[in-house]
């Protein structure tokens, strides 16, 4: 009698080579997932793709490649955009556009690439992850806050548009590594990347009833 090994569930993690990405890949692999990692550098994911996340065609082609290696992707965790403390007066137009693109365009590119198969299966799980400066937490970089805000708008609207399709879309708005003023939070310490990763892994791994919500592992910076 032949025994077929059960294939692990597959998640896509963008920004997989960053601090938060490494923690998220680890959390998912710890729960038995296979992870396709996408970033501008190699990641520790099960399958690692190196690409420009803002290039829609490159994203589509690397997603297809990852699916052919690991199987259909059930869950997207979009981690994008690093905090940048540049004061508003000193933010160049290129830096402004770069922040918006690295957050919003990269998230949308992966949603576009993954949605056809999620919609066909009538199931999917998308989690966008951004900084709680978008919710008014103390932090730095107006361009970074604005960019994080665009992702929240995107997430909530996409959640409602897809509500009846079986694809659940939610956001995590966290205190991210590199944010300043950690002691300003009730928790009194920085939120660790693995704590944000654990929240993402919860949303990936558990059957849940969240839709268009923003989960806030932020040490109480915004309550």
């Amino acid at each position: 009698m032949s025994v077929t090994a059960e294939r692990p569930r597959v998640a896509a993690v963008t920004g997989a080579a960053g601090l938060l990405g490494v923690a998220t890949v680890q959390a998912l692999i710890g729960k038995g997932w296979a992870v396709a990692g996408f970033d501008v550098a190699e990641s520790s994911a099960t399958h690692s793709a190196v690409l420009d996340l803002c290039d829609r065609e490159a994203v589509a082609s690397e997603v297809a490649e990852a699916v052919s290696v690991l199987g259909e992707i059930e869950c997207l965790i979009a981690l994008v955009g690093a905090p940048d403390p540049t004061p508003v007066d000193d933010v160049s137009f290129e830096a402004w556009r770069g922040a918006i693109s690295s957050h919003l365009l990269s998230t949308a590119n992966f949603a576009w690439a993954l949605l056809p198969s999620m919609l066909e299966r009538g199931a999917g799980n998308i989690v966008t992850v951004g900084s709680d400066v978008a919710l008014g937490a103390p932090g730095v970089g107006v361009h970074h806050a604005a960019a994080s805000g665009t992702v929240l708008g995107f997430t909530r609207a996409l959640a409602i548009e897809l509500a009846k399709t079986g694809v659940q879309v939610n956001a995590i708005s966290a205190q991210l590594p590199g944010s300043d003023e950690p002691r300003s939070s009730p928790l009194g310490r920085d939120v660790h990347p693995r704590e944000v990763a654990a929240t993402a892994a919860y949303l990936a791994d558990e059957r849940h009833f969240f839709l268009g919500q923003v989960l806030t592992p932020n040490g109480g910076r915004v309550i």
Partner: protein, 255 residues
């Protein structure tokens, strides 16, 4: 096989004879906790929930501060100090605001809000001695967003949101984490009250709630139980005084 996330913890779940409470107790036990299941009386339903969770009954009316203290002493004597408290016990009466008696209105505040206050007070000593604790308060979309003909219930649940936010800030420095869950429409015995109010069968009510929920389905107790276990566990310390809203998209603002 890795260690279960709640191994070695004692969890007390109030209102655990049925519905979301029973499911949370079962899940916390499956994740390694020794559980005590509170309800008003040791009914067959509570015994069945205890059997399903491998837990012990803990009898008290949560709105009776003295009874709650005795109950917690009993649980601590039997299982050890409570490290996880889930305040879930709730009473809902529905009806037009000016048709509701003062007693009916206020009884909901007593059970839902004062009950949580009494339970938290009773377990705090043990949590402080341990230097750690997790408190999960079940509030409601009605407390976030309001619910017509459930004014007393909504007010009591909104009160819990204030409690969670304030106590979350106050206790986090002592290693005690307080967070809230505000579920949307969940398929639990509580919706029998709603069906009665609207004059529909339970199946009709489930269909109505599924229709008004953007996700297109009514929530199930295990949707909430997994979240309660996450908030009770070691990986959620970054959540402080937060209200999480597993409501299928009915309300999408902050709470």
């Amino acid at each position: 096989m890795s260690v279960k996330p709640l191994e070695g913890k004692v969890a007390l779940v109030t209102g655990a004879a049925q519905g979301i409470g029973a499911e949370m107790a079962r899940r916390l036990a499956a994740d390694g906790a020794r559980v005590a299941l509170n309800d008003l009386a040791e009914t067959d339903r509570l015994r069945a929930a205890c059997a399903a969770a491998g837990g012990v009954p803990a009898i008290a009316d949560v709105s009776d501060e003295h009874a709650v203290r005795r109950m917690v002493e009993g649980v601590e004597g039997e299982l050890g100090p409570v490290g996880v408290l889930v305040c879930n016990a709730a009473l809902e009466t529905m009806g037009a605001f000016d048709g509701q008696s003062t007693e009916d209105f206020y009884r909901q505040v007593e059970v839902n809000l004062t009950g949580a206050y009494a339970c938290i007070k009773a377990v705090l000593g043990g949590m402080r001695a341990a230097g750690r604790g997790k408190i999960v308060v079940i509030t409601s979309v009605a407390g976030v967003n309001g619910w017509a003909k459930a004014v007393g219930y909504s007010a009591s649940k909104a009160g819990l949101i204030g409690l969670v936010k304030s106590l979350g800030r106050e206790l986090v420095g002592e290693g005690i984490f307080v967070n809230g869950i505000a579920p949307g429409a969940i398929d639990s015995p509580q919706i029998e009250v709603d069906a009665l109010e609207y004059g529909v069968t339970l199946d009709e009510l489930r269909a109505r709630y599924a229709e008004m929920t953007p996700l297109g389905r009514i929530g199930m107790p295990d949707d909430i139980a997994g979240l309660a276990s996450f908030l009770a566990g070691p990986d959620s310390d970054a959540f402080v005084g937060q209200i999480l809203q597993p409501n299928g998209g009915i309300e999408r603002g902050g709470a």
